[in-house]
């Protein structure tokens, strides 16, 4: 359950960077990042207890995976972590979907 330690680190990253009570946290999680958004939601409620993030809403923007085939130069959506182009090549460059980022937070002033 790596989501727990990752959620702990995102909570501490926010607490280090902003003052005041946090109302909303917006995350970007790519479909190829290896993180399950639902698990992050579950852990978020636990990790924020007793902090300035307690009770904050969690918005998760999920980004689809995209790859470029290095054999035929096609760009296409990658639905899962198994890289395979329609041309049969598995030699792909992943261009998005691995994101794991805190986009912004809404803080009370």
């Amino acid at each position: 359950m790596h989501e727990l330690s990752i959620t702990e680190s995102l909570v501490s990253a926010i607490l280090e960077r902003v003052d005041g009570r946090v109302q909303t946290v917006t995350l970007v999680i790519g479909r190829l990042s290896g993180l399950v958004p639902e698990s992050v939601r579950f852990c978020f409620d636990i990790c924020t207890q007793g902090t300035r993030l307690e009770g904050a809403a969690l918005d998760i923007i999920e980004l689809p995976g995209r790859a470029r085939c290095l054999a035929c130069d096609q760009e296409f959506e990658l639905p899962d972590a198994i890289p395979l182009c329609a041309c049969g090549s598995a030699n792909l460059e992943i261009i998005s979907g691995q994101e794991l980022k805190i986009k912004h937070v809404e803080v009370e002033v």
Partner: protein, 290 residues
């Protein structure tokens, strides 16, 4: 509970130096009046976090003609922070530390029971006259693996992650301070047996080595693609058991290459000693490159 001092720990990782009579250090806080001695090597320091949250609630009396609800106004703070940034920063620090000393660090990952510790025992026996080797063992509990390594005469430190399912760069840094490996040496980091979580945490290693055995099923690379994509080399172990299991070596290698076209695959049997020379040659090449 901490088995050395009897105080209750916070569940954080524990580092045990096996060649030092089992001294250990751990991160937890003690109440006032409670202290215990522990030894610090040179350059060893503790981080103490003091978070003070002060809530100042003021009650004001307002005379409002009508009831007014105060909605706190908010502002949006753009952060654009990579969630793993802290680990990545610590991993980069470890990587620089290794490079500065000409140390080759290898992160060994597999499911539990694939043969990581056996591979290390055998490698140490065969190469310790040629290379300077040391080991950091990661497990949730016990020093059993570290004791096996110590029995070979190799320097070893055990990190117990408690509830943690992987090593992270900070745990490794703490383990390294205790291990204090010599320059121009090889440090094997045996990660917690788990094919999921360790793939996400960079430790600062030069290469990631994934080990799987033929008893695990040849479709494992497809089932745990993150791990096989992250790895530089796959060691396919326990080939001596092939007559007893339904495992297609070529299919497994094909799946691994489908997930990661650049992955190098070495087949072997650690128990029988088959094809270990290819692994040793791979190691020697990495040492030369480091």
């Amino acid at each position: 509970m901490c088995s050395t001092c009897g105080c209750s720990g916070d569940g954080g990782p524990v580092v045990t130096d096996l060649s030092d009579g089992g001294k250990h250090s751990h991160s937890h806080e003690h109440g006032p009046g409670h202290s215990h001695g522990h030894d610090h090597g040179p350059g060893h320091s503790h981080d103490h976090d003091h978070d003070h949250d002060h809530d100042h609630d003021h009650d004001h009396d307002h005379d409002h003609a009508t009831t007014v609800t105060h909605q706190p106004s908010t502002r949006l703070v753009d952060l654009e922070v990579e969630v793993l940034a802290k680990n990545d920063l610590l991993a980069a620090r470890n990587r620089g530390w290794f490079e500065g000393r000409g140390i080759l660090a290898l992160n060994l990952m597999s499911s539990p029971g694939a043969g990581k510790t056996s591979l290390l025992e055998r490698t140490i026996r065969d190469l310790s006259s040629e290379l300077s080797l040391s080991v950091i063992e990661g497990d949730q509990e016990t020093v059993l693996d570290a004791e096996r390594i110590r029995a070979t005469g190799c320097r070893v430190v055990q990190i117990n992650t408690g509830s943690g399912c992987h090593l992270d760069a900070d745990m490794l840094a703490r383990g390294l301070r205790t291990l204090d490996p010599p320059a121009q040496s090889v440090v094997f980091i045996e990660n917690v047996g788990n094919l999921v979580c360790p793939a996400l945490f960079d430790l600062g290693e030069a290469s990631k080595v994934v080990i799987m055995s033929v008893t695990e099923g040849d479709d494992k690379p497809l089932k745990y693609p993150h791990m096989f994509r992250a790895a530089d080399v796959l060691l396919l172990n326990k080939l001596d058991l092939l007559p007893y299991v339904n495992f297609d070596v070529e299919r497994c290698i094909g799946y691994a290459k489908q997930i990661n076209p650049g992955i190098e695959v070495l087949t072997m049997s650690v128990t029988r000693g088959d094809d270990l020379e290819r692994w040793y040659d791979w190691l020697r090449r990495q040492v030369t490159a480091a």
